[in-house]
Chain length 698, copies 2
Amino acid sequence: MRPRLLLLLFFVLSIAYAQSVQSPSKELSVTFKVDAAGKPLYSVSYKGQAVIIDSYLGFTLKNLPPFDENFIVTTTKTTTVNDTWKPVLGEVSEIKDNHNELRVSLVQQSTKRNMDIVFRVFNEGVGFRYEFPKQDNLNYFIIEKEATQFNLTGNHKAFWIPGDFDSQEYVYNETRLNAIDNNKLNLNNGIALKSVGGRYTIQSPLMLKADNGLYINIFEAAVINYPIMHLDLNVNNFTLKAHLVPNALGDAAYLQAPFNTPWRTVMVSSDARTIVSQKMILNLNEPSKIDDTSWIKPMKYVGIWWEMHVGKSTWDYSGSQNAQNQQSGEAIKVPHGANTKNTKRYIDFAKKHGFDGVLVEGWNTGWEDWNGNWKEEVFDFVTPYPDFDIKAISDYARQQGVKMIMHHETSGSVASYERQLDRALENMVQYGYPAVKTGYVGKIIPRGEYHDGQTMVNHFNYVPRRAADYRLMVNSHESSRPTGVHRTWPNYIAAEAARGNEFNAWSTGNPPSHETILPFTRLLGGPMDYTPGIFEIKMSAYKPGATEQVQTTLAKQLALYVTLYSPLQMAADLLENYEKHPDAFQFIKDVAVNWQDTKVLEAEPGDYITIARKAKGSENWFLGAITDENARESKIALDFLTPGKRYKAVIYHDGKNAHWKNNPASYAIDTQMVTSKSRLKLQLAPGGGTAVSFVPVN
Amino acid sequence: MRPRLLLLLFFVLSIAYAQSVQSPSKELSVTFKVDAAGKPLYSVSYKGQAVIIDSYLGFTLKNLPPFDENFIVTTTKTTTVNDTWKPVLGEVSEIKDNHNELRVSLVQQSTKRNMDIVFRVFNEGVGFRYEFPKQDNLNYFIIEKEATQFNLTGNHKAFWIPGDFDSQEYVYNETRLNAIDNNKLNLNNGIALKSVGGRYTIQSPLMLKADNGLYINIFEAAVINYPIMHLDLNVNNFTLKAHLVPNALGDAAYLQAPFNTPWRTVMVSSDARTIVSQKMILNLNEPSKIDDTSWIKPMKYVGIWWEMHVGKSTWDYSGSQNAQNQQSGEAIKVPHGANTKNTKRYIDFAKKHGFDGVLVEGWNTGWEDWNGNWKEEVFDFVTPYPDFDIKAISDYARQQGVKMIMHHETSGSVASYERQLDRALENMVQYGYPAVKTGYVGKIIPRGEYHDGQTMVNHFNYVPRRAADYRLMVNSHESSRPTGVHRTWPNYIAAEAARGNEFNAWSTGNPPSHETILPFTRLLGGPMDYTPGIFEIKMSAYKPGATEQVQTTLAKQLALYVTLYSPLQMAADLLENYEKHPDAFQFIKDVAVNWQDTKVLEAEPGDYITIARKAKGSENWFLGAITDENARESKIALDFLTPGKRYKAVIYHDGKNAHWKNNPASYAIDTQMVTSKSRLKLQLAPGGGTAVSFVPVN
C-alpha cells in the first residue's frame, strides 16, 4: 500500500486554478491546475481511474528567472477538431484527427513573461506542449531543464531501455518500475558507444502496464529544434521527470520566441491494441511541407549489407572491415562487397524478383579507418572505390528498371557530412539514386554533442529537408528516434533508431520478445528499417562454432514484414539464401509495404502481436502474427476481409517442431480458401510466427 | 637581481643529452637537451646572450601516459637549406629560405612511442615543431595540454594583449612583463565577446624588448588542424608556457599520427627592423597547393561599409542595424546602405578612380536580428534584399570593369555557414564576384567552440581551400590570426584578426601607437585588411558631440597603405570625403598593393616605423612613415632608389600644426626631385605620418 499513501501525501496541494478537458470519447480526461505558488500542473485519468497524478510543468532557464512558478491564468480556450487527412505513405489511407484542445494562456507575474500550455485530448491519449509566444520580455532564451513530470500511480510493469543519449539500440527490459536500475544492466550488448544519462534515466517511448490492466505510454511528438526527452525515474514514488539531452555546456535548447516545444504524450487504454494503432503522434505533427509528393515512393529492396554483417565481404576496398572482424579483432581477408560485378548480381536479382531497389554499402572511399576514432574527415561522399563503377552501375540499374539506394555513413562526423551534403545529394541526382540510407555510427562531431541533443535533432531534420529540394528520400540509421516528423517531411521514409536485426549477426542479439515490444515503443514514432527476412538464421552457417543467431523462426521473419510497419523494407539476407527457399521467399516478394488499411487483431507487449493489413491500391490482405519465446495458439476471425469475396490464403507457418533456438528453419506453407466469415487458426512455435497472404479469387 | 638568481636555480639540471644548431649567420644558436628524467628541453642564444633559457617541451595527452618525459634520443640529423621561392602576392618578389635544421628523433622508453622535434634556425629566429611519425604505439590521440615553454631571461618590456580565445581586437599594452595582469585591464573597449583564458594568459605574437636591447618575438607558424597557442606567463620568473585553446570538453587537439604540429617561433635581433622584415613565418609554411594562381590578384577597393560604421546607413533592409545604433541602443532611422543605386555609385567611383573592387555589406537577408544572440540560422548567403538587384549590379560592374567583393557575415554560426558554403560560393561564381569578405562576429556555433580552437582553425583554413575550387579569394574578419598559411593557400589574400580602423568609429578606438605595433605582432602572420584611408577623422562630423575619432592625422592614414602590408587594401572612407580632398586622395589612387621589394628603414615598436616599397612590375616606389603620439623628425637616405634614376617625389605630410587630436586634418603636399643619393627629411606630427610616392622621370 505504500504507493497509495504517497499519493495521498502528494495531493495535499493548495490549488488556485483548475480546468479539465475530455477526449471525444469522454473516457480520457485531463485536468490543468495552478497551485498556490503559481506552479502549473496537470493530471490525467481514464474512465475515472487516475493515470497521471498531479505533475508539475515548466522550465529552468539559463541566466534567467525560473519559468515554473508565479503564473496566473489569463485566458483559456477550448476547441474541437474533427478532421481527416491522407498520409503520403502509411498504414492506412486516411487518418482521422479528432481531439479536444484546451489552450491555457499564462503570465508569470514577477517577470511579465507569457507561456501557453496546450492540451490535445484524443481518444487514445493526450498530448500537451508549451508555447512561448512572441513577447517583449522573452526573446532569446536557453532551456537548461524542463520540469515536466509524469507522475504514475503505482509500480507498473515497464518495457524500458536505459536513457542513453547516443543510442536506442538496446534490448527492452521488462520489470516493475521499482526494479529499474541501469547499474544492473549487462552492457556487453554489442553497442559500441554508450552515454547513459543516469542510473534511473530511461528512454521514451516508455511502455507501461498497470495492475488495473491499463496500458500507458509516455512519449513525445514533433521533436523539432529541441533535444530528445529522456525520463528520470524516482524508483520510490514512481514519478518521472523530463530529462532533456544536454550539449557539452550542459544546455538543453537554444530558443527564440515564438517557439512551440514538442508535444509530450500520454497514451492510455484498457486495450493494448489501441496503443499500437494510435495515430495521435502523427496528428500532433504538422502537415506535409512538400507540395508535390509524387516522387515519394515505397520501396522493397535488397542490398550489399548482410554479407558484411556475416563476414563474407567487407565495407572497405582493402578488405579488412566487416562486422565480424570488428567484433573479433581478427583480420580475415574477404572480398570488398561493393564491387561492380556483385552489385549487378543484386540488380539482376531485384529485377527478377520484383524488388524496387538495391542498397550498396561500402561503395565510397573512407572505410579503411572509419570506426570508433572520433575522426572528423573520414568519408568522401562522392568518390567511389575503384572497383565500383558508379556510372556503369547506375546505367545498368536504369536499364533493368531497378532503383539504386545510396549509402552515406558519416561515422558520427556530422560536421564533415554537412560540409559535403549538397555535393553528396547532387551526386545522387547525377546518378539517379532516389533514396539514401544515412548512418551515424560513433561519437558525434561537433564534439560534445550527443545523437539525441538539439544540434543533432536539427541535423536529422535538416537532411530530409535538404534532400527534399533534390526530390530524394531519406532512411536514417543511428539517428534520434522518430516522433512523427515524417508526416511533415514524408520523404523521411524510414529510420532505424532501435535495435535492428543486424545485432543478431554479431552480438547477444534480439530476444524473441523484442519485435513484440517495438510496436509499443519505437514504432509509435514512425517506420523502422528493421531489415527482416533472414532465412539463414544461425551464424554457424558462416563461421563454425558461432553461437549467434537470429532469435526467431524463419516463418517469424516473414511475419515481421507485416507486424513492423515500414514503407521501406529490406529483404536483408544473402541472395543465395533466398534462392534456397523460393517458396518462403514468395511471401517477401508478394507482401506490400504501403497500406490502405491496418487492423491490429491481437497485441500484448512482450508477448505477441497479430496485425492484418490491406495493400494500397489492391484487394490483397496480409497478416503477420508473432510471439515471444513462448509457443502460442490463436484463432483469428477474418472479418476484416471484404464480405462476399473469396480469398486464396497462403499461410507461411512454423514447422511442427519449429523452435527459434533448436529448429528455427522449419516452416510449412499451406493454402486454403477463406472468406470474411472464416476463422484462421494460428500455431506459433516458441519464438515463431505466421505470415499469410490473402488474394481474392473472384 | 632576483631574476638572475632564479636563473641560476633553474640551471641546476642534470643533462643527459645536448646538441646545438646555429643560424647561417652563426649569431643565433639553439641547444636541444634531454634531462636526467628524459624530459626534452631547449634554449636559444643570440650573439652569446641567452634569449630563451632551458625550456621544457612535450605534451599531456588525454587518457594516455604523459608525453614529456622518459625520452631518449635515437638519431639526430642536420640539414642546411638555401633556397628561394616566389610568393604569388607579397612584399617582395622573391623570398630566400636559408636555415639550418636539426631533427632529433626521440623514443619514450616506457611506451615505445616516437616523436621528432625539428628545429629550423634562420638568421632572424628559430622555429621548432613536434612531429608524430606513423607508428604502432600512437595512432589517434588527444592533446590536452602542450608543455612547450619559452622561458625568458628577465623582466622585458612587452607589447601584449590578453589571451582571449575569441578575439584579438585589443589595444596593445606596453608594460614590463611583471606588470601584465588581465584583471587590471579596462575592458570597456568595444569588443562585444570576450573569453580571456586566464589572469596571466596573453596572446602571441608577443613582442618583447629586453634591457640588453634585443628584440624578441614569440609566435607560431603554419597553424593547421591545431588550436591557436596562447601563452601563460609566470609574472615572477618570466616563464611562458603554451596555452592551447580548448574546446567545450577541455580538449585541445584531436590528432592522428602522422602529424606535425605548428612551428613555435622565437625571433630575435638587435635590430627591430629584422623582426618586421622577417620571412621565416612564410618559410615555415608549405608551398602553394594551388597550381594555377593566375586568378589570384591584388585588389584596392572601396565599399558600402564605413557608412554603416558612422551611422549614415544600415546593414539591414528595415533600417535599424548600424554600428552607431548598436553601440548606443538608439534606433535612428537611416537608409539601407546596400541598395542598387548606392552600389552603382560606388562602382562609378571605383571606375573613375581606378579601384579594382567594390565591397557591399548588408546585401543579403538576415541582418535584422543578426548580432549577439548565439543564433544558429541567421543569414541566407544567396538571397539579396529586395533593393539589391544582384543581377543588375553584377552586370553593371562587369560593364564598368569593376570587380564586386562578396560579403558573408556568419555572426559566428559556422554550422550554418558550412551548410550553405557550396551554394554561397556557387552564387559568387554565378554573379562574377572574385573575392569574399567573411565575418565571424559573435559566439561560435558549434556551441562551446572558440574562434581560436582547433575546430575553428580548421574552418578558417577550409573556406579558402574550398573557395580555391571555385577560384575565389578570401578575406576573413574575426578569424583566428594568420600564421603564414597564405603561402600555402595564396587565395587567402587577407584577414582582419586584430583591432582595425573600424574601432575608431564607435569605441575607445586605436591609440596613435597602435599601427606602429602591428608590424611587430599581427602582421608577422600575414596581410591585414586594416581598412585605412579615413579622411573625415572626427565622428562629430556625423554626430554632434561625438568624441570618437580616428586617432591619427590624415597624412598618417595615407602612410598606412605602405606601413601595413596587404595585397587587399580598402579606401575605407565615404566617397564624398575623398571628393573633398582630391589631392590627398591621389596617393591612395597611386599607391601599389603588391610589391617587388620592401625596405624597412626605421622601426621601433610602439614608437614609429618607416617602410619603403617598390611596386611590382613598375619602377615606382612608395614610402610610409608613421609615429605614435609623439612628434618625430627623421632624415631618410633614399638609397633604395635605383642609382642614376631621377624621381619625382610627392610628399604627403602633416600640416605645420597638425596633431592627431587637435588638428588631424591638416596636411600638405610637396613635390621634389630626388635620386638615390638624396636624403629626405620627414616631419611627423604627434600621431602623424608621411606618405611619399616616387615616380621615375627619365
